[in-house]
Amino acid sequence: MYSNAQAAIEDSTDVLTPTTVQCFPRTEEKKRSTVRKGLSISVSTPETLEALAVKVATERDRVAFKQLFAHFAPRIKSFILKQKVSDEVAEDLTQEVMVTVWQKAHLFDPQKARLSTWLVRIARNKFIDKVRRQKYIEVDVDNHMQSMEASEKTDVPVIQMQDQTRIVSALKILKPELRQVIELSFYQEMSHSQISAELGLPLGTVKSRIRIAFQKLRVELGEY
């Protein structure tokens, strides 16, 4: 289970382009350049996933939506499957998340958050709603004042701190025992006592590892 999670992080570099465009899948990139072949204008940088979401919101663009789907739907399903639900439940939830993306794309603000962050919140809330049958109240973390000030203070724009490549590299350089507790928290949605049982560690050790790992990640991300 842990090795899977680790492999996912190792793999991630394959799907990420090293340029400023982090998440654009290469196949789509190719497709676009073919489409534009006949035009004399130079092909601009491929659109980010965030830009595709904006197109879905403003133009109800089904091609853009299909591109988002191709990138995210299999990953959302994969992420939900790690919660030990059936394939059927994972597909139902993935469908609900994608329906929400289509219907609520106008609520996504690319200046404030990465699309993957927005999607993972939707997936989390759908999962809790359907599987645990509970409400999960959201708190708006993207629009408070200090958030903007903090980014000036550290010279790292908030949106850049959320950059996937950056976060994945920050996770990679964590000590394995620190990365492990972060991955178990997020991938398996394990409670701290479950992690403690899984790893055979005292609860206090699990908690302090989670805190240290998070603090180190935030340092790497330029939060301090």
Binding site: P74, V131, M161, Q164
Partner: protein, 233 residues
């Protein structure tokens, strides 16, 4: 299916602020309805906690974005578009989706206003004891409860130790307990084992708190025994 969530025994709130491991638990979806509502409301008072939740959610997003792709069943996209088209045809659904989030309430943080779908006046207050009223909001499995407390200034909350563990978030007013003051936005965690837990509401305005209570350990084990044959623990 993983449904185990954090218990109050695992919570710490030094200086009245929830510790980082619980902010991560919130971001990862590891809290019950009662505790997620409490943590979201608590964080709303403290920008540094909001920043941490944002960072933890970004980590979750990056992990999702970097995960291996699962195989989707045949025709998934077409079925998805059919569902979308069917729902677009339904006018009522469209209106419902364009509904604005509830109005900003100056008295209580947005997450709590969302949860109550209103404010502190909209809940059903019941007599709890001299100078005290309570409004029950949610009861979960194992006897976990989310409720609101309204207490008049100068009220001493009677000894209620060994009544299970408690997380108390101050929404208005303030109180003292064992020499420590808890004001607006502060979170107090009182474990099951704590002796002599008698909060004293400070003189003056009414004190409003959002409280999560877990059933006492004794009761919990009783309940566990009662359901044991059914869930096969």
């Amino acid at each position: 299916m993983n449904q185990e969530v954090q218990t109050i025994e695992q919570a710490e709130a030094p200086g009245g602020r929830i510790a980082d491991d619980w902010l991560i638990a919130y971001a990862a979806g590891n809290l019950s309805e009662a505790k997620s509502t409490l943590v979201a409301t608590h964080a709303s008072y403290h920008p540094e906690l909001l920043d941490k939740i944002r960072d933890a959610e970004s980590v979750a997003g990056a992990l999702m974005g970097a995960t291996d792709k699962a195989e989707l069943s045949d025709g998934f996209f077409d079925r998805l578009m059919d569902t979308i088209d069917a729902q677009e045809g339904d006018a009522s659904e469209v209106i419902d989706l364009s509904k604005k989030p509830s109005a900003v309430n100056p008295d209580i943080p947005q997450p709590l206003a969302d949860y109550l779908n209103g404010d502190l006046e909209d809940v059903k207050w019941r007599f709890m004891g001299p100078g005290m009223k309570q409004a029950k909001l949610w009861t979960g499995e194992n006897g976990e409860k989310l409720w609101l407390l309204k207490a008049k200034g100068g009220t001493e909350i009677p000894e209620h130790g060994h009544n299970g563990s408690e997380m108390t978030l101050v929404l208005k007013g303030s109180y003292h307990v064992n020499g420590q003051k808890f004001g607006v936005g502060d979170l107090e965690i009182a474990s099951d084992e704590i002796e002599d837990h008698r909060p004293m509401i400070d003189d003056g305005e009414d004190c409003f708190c959002l409280v999560v209570t877990e059933a006492p350990i004794k009761l919990k084990s009783l309940m566990a025994r009662a359901v044991q044959p059914f869930i096969g623990l």
